[in-house]
Each structure stands twice: as C-alpha cells, then as structure tokens.
Symmetry: C2
Subunit: 578 residues, 2 copies
C-alpha cells in the first residue's frame, strides 16, 4: 500500500495554499448546491439527498484520493445510471427506492475499494475512448429529454428515449404554462450567462476572475430569482412544482438494512456505476494533473472514490464521483489541495443546517434547466466526427453505444459498447496484416513490396506478419503461407520477419511447426529474423530452434545476406546508387 | 460461391482411383459399423440411429465437401455433446429424445451451411489449440467413464464426472458378473489388437496392408465373437444387456415436427456442436490434405459438413462430422476421392437392409469396450505437458477447460475455455511489452538495452512498444512514458520505434496526442519511426503529423542519425570496430 496521499501534501500546507483553496471552495460551493439538488432530482430522489452526497464524500476523498483538484460529488451521468438501476427494484418516491440508492452507493464504494486493493484499475481500460465518448453524449441527450417533463410540468417516466417521448407525447395536453415559462426563461438565462455574460464582463473593468465567478454563479442566481418570483406570486398554487420543505439538519450516519436479494440484483449496476464513475474521474483527474506536472495514481483513485461512495451511502446520499465541469472550475479557481474540497463540504453542511428553508419555493423547472444546460456541453459531436474519420470500427462501437443507450438504456448501452469494441479487437487480430517484403536499394531496410520500390530476391521469399501469432489468426496465417507457396515455385528459403510478432501462444507455435514441416516436405528451408526477446525466450523453452529447418537471425538484413549474396551487394550500393 | 468440389475430381476419375477407393471403403466400413452402433449408444440412442447417420451424410459430403479423404459419420466427442444437449430437454429413450437429437442434426447443419455462406469459418479460431486439446482429452475421460456402466452392467446417468461416479458407486452391489467378464475381455482383446497384433503380423509373411487391415478389424471381430458366445450360451438370460432387435430397412427421409421452443433451447448446444465438429474435421482434413499437397477450403468444408448434418437429420440420424481415426484409416488405406465415402455409405445401407439380425445378441458391453479403447487414444498428456512448458496462460485455459468439462459438462467446458483464452489475450494486450532501445555498435540496428550491449544516446531517448496501441493499453503506455520522463531529465527528443505497433485505434490516437502535448510542455520533441503502412494511412486521415512536434522517420536509424550525429559514427564503426 502506498502512503495516504494526504500525508504528502499536508506537510507543506501553508496560508498561501489555504487562501487559494478557500477561494476555490467558495466558487465550487456556489456551483455545487444547485447541481446537488438537480442531480438528486435527476436520480428520482428528494433534493436533500444530493446535498448529503456533497458532504462526507468530500472529506473522505481528501483523505484517500490522489488528485489535488478533483471535485467529488453527484454528477449527471452517474445520477442517471442510479435512477435506471434503482428503478428496476423499487418505485420512485418510495422508501425502498431511497434504500436501493443508498445500497448502490455502498456497493459501488466497496467495489471501487476492492478493485483498488486488487490493483485492478486496468479493468476500466475495457471502456475505449469512443465508447466512453458516445456513452456520455448519448446519456446527455437522454438526461436532457428526461428533464423536459419538469420544464413542461407533465409526468413522464422511463429511462430510454422511446418511453420518455411516448410519455411526453401522451401528456402534451397537460402542459403547465407558468412552469413552461419559468423553464424556458431559465434555460435562456443560463445559456446567456454561459455564452455571453462572461465575455461581456471581460470587456468592462471587472477583474477577470470576478467575471468568471459571476458567470459560474448563473445557476445560483436563477435559483434565487425564480424562488423569489414563485414565492411572491404563489405560483405553486398555479401548478408550478416546487422543491418543498427540505428536512433541516444533517443526516445521522447509519448503515441501511442489507437486503441480500436486492443487493445481488443491484450488483451489476453498481459495478457499471463504479467503472463509469472511475473512468470519468480518472480522465479529468489526469488531464488536470498533467497541466501542473502532477500525477494521479489510478489504483489510489479507486480507493479514494470508493471511500467517498461508502461515506455517501452511510450519510444517506447517492453514488458520487469526480465531476468534469466542477473539477475544471475548482482547478481554474486556483485550488491547490483537496483541502478545498473539505471547505466545500463544510459550506454545504452549513447550507443544510441553516439555508434549506430558502429552497422551499424553488421551482423544479429551474433545477431541470440547470441540468439541461449543464449536460448540453457534454454532447461531443466533434469527437463523433473525428472517430468516424479515423476508424470505422471505433465509430461502429461508438454508434452502437449511442443507439443502445438511447433505445434501451444506459447499462445496456455501456455493455454493448464494450462487447462491440472487444469483438472488433478480436476480429482485427483474426485478420492480421502481412506483407511480402523487399530491400530498399542501398539500405539494410526491408519494406512491403506493394508500397515501396524494393528489390526482391529470386530464391528467398521474405514475409512480414504484423500481428501477434495467436489462436485467433494462426490458421489464417498458415493459409496465407500456403497460398504464397503456390505462387512462388522457385524459392529455396522463406524468411519470416518477426519484428511485428509481439507474442506467440501455443496455437501459434503449432502453426509455425506446421509451416516448417510443410516447407520441409517441399525442400524449402524456413527461417525467422528479428524475433523479439520475450518471444524468443518462449520458443527456446520448447526447443523450437532444433526442429527449425533454417536459422534464426538477429537482423533481417543478416538473414538475407546469408541466404542470397545479391542482398549484400544491394545493401552496399549506397554510394554508387542511382 | 466456388464450384462444387465434386466437379473438380469427377472429371479425372478412372478405374485406378476406383480400385483404391473401393479398398479404402471396405476397410472403413468394417471400422464404421461397430463405431456407429457404439456412438449411437453413447449418445443415448437406439443403435440403428448410428447406422442411419452413416449413410446419407456420406453422400452429401461427397457432393459438397472439399477434403478428398475425410471420413464423415458419428464421432465420440460429438455424440457425447449430443447426449448432454438432448438430455436437457428430454428423457433418454423417449420419442422426444430422438426428436431432439434429429433437431440437433438439422440445426447444426443449418448453422454450418449458414456460417459457410457467410464465410464465417474464422469463428472456429476462437477455440485455441490448447482449449481444443484439453476439451478432447477431458471428453475422452468423461466418455470412458460414462461407458463403464455398460461394462459393469449397472445403471448410471449424468454428463459430468461427479454424477457418473456417484451413480456407479451407488450401484456397485448390482454389478453383473457375465457382463463384466465380457467387457473386460473385450477391452483386453481390443487393446492387444491395437498394440500387439499388427507388429506381430508384420514380422510374419503377411503383406503389410493386410496386417494393418486385420488389426483395424479388431472391433468387428470382437462384435462377431461376443455375439456368437452370448447367443450360444443365451447369456442375455443372465443379465447381459444386448442390442436387441434392430428395425429392418432404411429410414424414410422425413422432416421432424419443428417445436420452436425446443429448437430455441437446443440452439446454443447446436452451435457448439457445429463449431467443435468443424474444428475436428478441419484439423484432420488439413493434416491429411497437407500430406498430399492438397488443400481444403474451410468455408467449403462448412457447407459440406452442414449438408451432411442436414442429411443426417432428414434420415433420422445424429449429428456427424469428420472423425479423426476413421479419416486417418481412410487415408492410409489409400482413398483417393470422396467416392470412397459413397461406397462406404452403400455398404452401410446394405448392412442396415440385410445384416441387422446379426446384431441382436451383440452385448452392449462390447460396444462400450470399443468406445473406451477408441477414446483412450484421444487423451493427449504430451500436449498438456508441452503447453505447460510453453505458456502458463495457455495452460490455464486448457486446465480450466478440462476441469469444467469433467466437473460441469462439455458445453460449459468449451465456453469456459473460450472465455479464459480470450481474457488472457485481452490481459496480454493490456500489459504490453516495451523496451528502451540502443544501437548495436557498428550496425543500423537497435535493441532492448536490458538484453543487448548497446549504445544509448545522451539526449535522445528511444523507446519501442511491442503491441498494438489500443484502448486496452493506451493508458498503461502513457503512464510508462510519464515515468520515463521523470527518470530521463536531460533529453531533448523522444523517438518511438513503431515497428511493433501493428494497429492504432481512436483511444491510441488520443494517447499519442496526449504524450505529444505533455512532451511539448516540457520542450521535448516527439518523433515516430518505422510506422507501418496501414497505421500511417490512418494517422494521415486525421492529420496527426501536423500536430506532432517532431518528425516521422522511415527508419529508426535515420531518426537517430538526424537527431544525434553520434549515431551515424556508431553505425559506421563496423570496419574499425573492436
């Protein structure tokens, strides 16, 4: 076990850092409070649950997390996944539903800590970049549409686009006009704050940091203005849904009753929530750490996030992770250490203790507007286009993820994405690239005869395989060699350049021996060149070289020169060359 | 679609080939008849079903198959899989059980033909050599133990070792002595025939081909001798189980009633039976074809085997494939074309028409002895040991297959084997080998600094990654580079030798760009060398080179010479070198 990360930074902590952290904490708190309320609503929970999830977890992450600037708390995608998972075992609004959510936090925490101690952070690598990107874009669309019900003031359930659209269409006659007006105005206001206000303020004499802070305070402003209006005009009497009375006081830490059946049912969802939360956290954590030449340790992050989620569950909150936008704000606001998070937690706790009556008349439409505007920035069309240009298999994995997230749901989407990307990877290995190679005149280098103007030996066929030689492609490779045998009748030797063969398994070994035997029966010697160290070690263990009709050469040039004197002449023709 | 394979060989067919084929057909028929009866019994079916499966399928394979010498019919492993699958939906001995078996033949045939037309033979590559080998060895043990009940004359069911052993132990007081004596004598006789008789005959004046034929006729001799003894002493009255009355006449081809529920239940098993049958067929087919410089076409084989299985189902038979031992015998006996199979089929049909009364008193213990002796040769301890020496991951995949086949069953075993081997493959890619490289003095070659005595540049760090750069390993590689950055403070350039990077996906591209940015922030240029053609094409599509702070070099030597003049001096030191 590495040392607790906190022991590294606490020693050099001073008032300068404290000042920086305090400023960042204020800015993040202003952002976090409306987000906590909104993401709790997105997860189908009472708003205070979001606030609870923004207190204890931040303390725990400060103790165990390795990123200096990650801002932990409820985030949109994880809240959506939480709603989908808890909705499978209980009805929104019931005590069982809240129990299921708390159980998800605990399970997810235990899974993350377990993966951390098992140093199994690499499992997150199963999620390719296109799959994550597609998953987040599609989730953002799903989240935005799921929040439309609060903007329109109609009921709508379901965690996939068809159900959401069906519910909205079914209730289109029940739209509540005051709610709609508040919702649309809030969205417009928040978009303007985000887009126009900051640059407007920048042009005036307002100091840049203040300008940026004001812009970030948009949601809080929307919250206070709309609460005041609803309260003054008693719009809740006209059908505007409000947050209502939030219980005062901090939750008493407690472990929920453990229902093993439900826990087992929730386990796969908890696992996916853990992995997605970890991937989101680590990617933002790494990006920010790199900017300051710091490093984060993925396995320590697992433990930090796991501790945060266990704390969230014990404190009655929903699953949390390091959020992208809040972490960037925390970083830009100058946070130096996780102590900024501790101060944020204290401020959220004070809010829960003293300020909750302020939120009674807060319209849900404003919270929904906050969510919608926040997630719109997660839709990443640029990456979708770039992946399309770069790689069609990657694009297909991404497109599958998007389609399944929207059509079926978040869990199915992420699983489909993993399956498609792993399948394409296996298919890639199963169809390896290979090339007949020849010598670039005047050099010791050999390249694909189809791509370069090279010299080929008349009696020595040289072949390069650009893939591990494994069970997936052994037979294909053997077929390839057999075909080449039929088209190259006069050869005396075949040299396989192995610099692209990174690994050989037992099936690959069988294939090499089978090729060796077949060539032998036709009086052709079989040689290998540039075999990589780990591969050579393995071949030596079964005495492969003693069966080989030819030799194993350190360099392909040496092999060709030994087998065909022409090669050495071609290699030295440099000075006299054309 | 390629031409029907039969059109290729029928044109040059002559009496010389006919003669060779006829001799092989006689030998194979003598071997096939007891095997057909025995494998039907192994599959839990009336003995005639095995004979039915040895008629129509052979005609169809002759029309559509691409191997000249493959002997199609019931085989041990497929019969065991058939019993396990049919046993899940019906009780042995019932009409539903036979219906399920026929459905399995048809489904398997349709699946094989479908895979053939989809050119999806590569799917069989999911079965690695160690998994197949472990599967066959474990199945052989399971088959041998499952046949013990016939030798002991006690009832025993189950398709896994624990149930078989439990049943045998439970009934150990009911052992039938005459049955046991017949069984043990048969096994002894068959082992002697196999081991001693042939070499004994070789030493006499008997022509070798006759000697080998006599040795192959062992099972038929056992069948006739034991039938005569049982019939003469009416041992069936003493509790010796006999084959009984076999219905006379050929089955009328018919399609069974299709029960969609049962068909759906049988589908996964049918798929596994198809894949295993295909793999067994193709591996023996390829081995034999190679000996005569012929080739088989895997996708045509799928169609040939599929047609054979559909025919087997229509003719009331069980799933078939190309058997290893019979094909080798067919080959060694001199078969030249699939017409040998047609003649075999005719002889089996004549047997069904006229000779079945002969089998009435045939004791089941003798058939069981035939199976046991046949499958003992499938247990391949040599390969198990060799895989252990060569590769621990391969061995683990093999061991898992063996343990699960024996402990749970054949289907679970093969699935476990595939999952473990794919997991190890993914884990291998996730933990790529990389090396810091240096120049071998006096050459243009660069090798791992930990393995070779090489020269390293003081300011240019050269790194080689021996793996595709993919979502599974991108983050790991980035971490590696970051660690190297911390330990090499004075470098001005980093060159990544890409001759082992066979492919880059979108996640890998992100990683390269992230490394480029990070190096740039530390004023280190990032170069690539020896990028493979297909990878370069892909990088060009997104204009990677324009973001790169360094260059992309055709050869690593060129890269090093450009960045550090020392390199060129070291490379030319050849003649003056030590």
């Amino acid at each position: 076990m590495p040392k607790l990360p906190i022991l590294k930074w606490i020693k050099t902590y001073d008032t300068s850092k404290l000042g920086d952290d305090a400023i960042a904490a204020v800015i993040v708190t202003v952002m976090l409070i409306p987000q906590s309320l909104a993401y709790a609503m997105l997860a189908g929970l009472p708003p205070e649950v979001g606030l609870y999830a923004s207190i204890l977890p931040l303390f725990m992450y400060a103790l165990f997390g390795s990123s200096m600037t990650l801002a932990v708390g409820p985030v949109a995608v994880i809240s959506l996944m939480t709603a989908a998972a808890a909705g499978q075992v209980a009805i929104q609004g019931s005590a069982e539903y809240l129990g299921a959510v708390i159980l998800l936090s605990l399970l997810s925490g235990v899974i993350l800590v377990g993966l951390g101690f098992a140093r199994a952070g690499f499992l997150a690598n199963l999620l390719s970049h296109p799959v994550i990107s597609g998953f987040i874009s599609a989730s953002a669309v799903l989240i935005a549409f799921s929040q439309l019900k609060h903007i329109l003031g109609v009921p709508a359930y379901g965690h996939d686009m068809p159900s959401i659209l069906y519910d909205l269409a079914n209730h289109h006659t029940e739209i509540n006009l005051p709610t709609l007006i508040i919702g649309v105005l809030s969205i417009t206001f928040l978009l303007w704050i985000r887009g126009g206000l900051e640059s407007l303020l920048m042009k005036t004499d307002v100091p840049p940091r203040l300008a940026s802070t004001v812009a970030r305070a948009g949601p809080v402003m929307a919250v206070f203005i709309s609460t005041a209006i609803v309260s003054f005009f008693t719009l809740d009497q006209s059908g505007v849904s409000i947050v209502g009375v939030i219980p005062k006081g901090l939750p008493v830490p407690a472990l929920p009753d453990l229902d093993l059946t439900i826990a087992t049912e929730l386990l796969p969802a908890a696992f996916l929530i853990s992995i997605v939360g970890f991937v989101e956290s680590v990617s933002v954590g790494q990006t920010l750490a790199a900017r300051r030449r710091e490093r984060i340790q993925p396995n320590q992050e697992l433990i930090g996030l796991g501790a945060a989620n266990i704390a969230s569950g014990i404190g009655g909150g929903l699953p949390v992770t390091g959020g992208f936008s809040r972490s960037v704000v925390n970083f830009d606001a100058g946070a130096r250490t996780p102590f900024a998070g501790v101060m944020t937690a204290v401020m959220v706790a004070l809010t829960v203790l003293f300020l909750t009556p302020l939120f009674k008349f807060l319209p849900k439409a404003v919270l929904a507007a906050t969510v919608i505007v926040a997630v719109l920035s997660l839709i990443d069309l640029k990456t979708i286009h770039r992946v399309w240009v770069f790689s069609k298999p990657d694009f297909l994995a991404m497109a599958t993820t998007i389609v399944v997230v929207l059509g079926v749901g978040v869990e199915a989407g992420i699983i489909a994405g993993i399956l498609v990307s792993v399948s394409f990877l296996l298919a890639k290995i199963a169809h390896p690239h290979f090339a007949v190679i020849g010598q670039i005149p005047g050099t010791q280098h050999f390249r694909n005869v189809n791509r370069y103007d090279v010299l080929e030996s008349k009696k020595v066929l040289a072949l390069r395989l650009d893939e591990m030689l494994y069970f997936l492609n052994g037979h294909t490779f053997e077929d390839t060699v057999n075909q080449l045998l039929n088209t190259n009748k006069n050869m005396t030797d075949l040299v396989l350049l192995c610099n692209g063969i990174n690994e050989i398994d037992a099936s690959g070994l069988e294939v090499l021996e089978s090729i060796n035997d077949r060539l032998n029966s036709q009086c052709i010697r079989f040689h290998l060149s540039e075999v990589k160290g780990p591969v050579m070690d393995r071949l030596n263990r079964v005495g492969f070289e003693t069966h080989l009709t030819g030799q194993i050469f350190l360099s392909h040039y040496e092999a060709m020169c030994t087998l065909d004197p022409e090669c050495e002449r071609n290699g030295k023709a440099q000075s006299a060359g054309a």
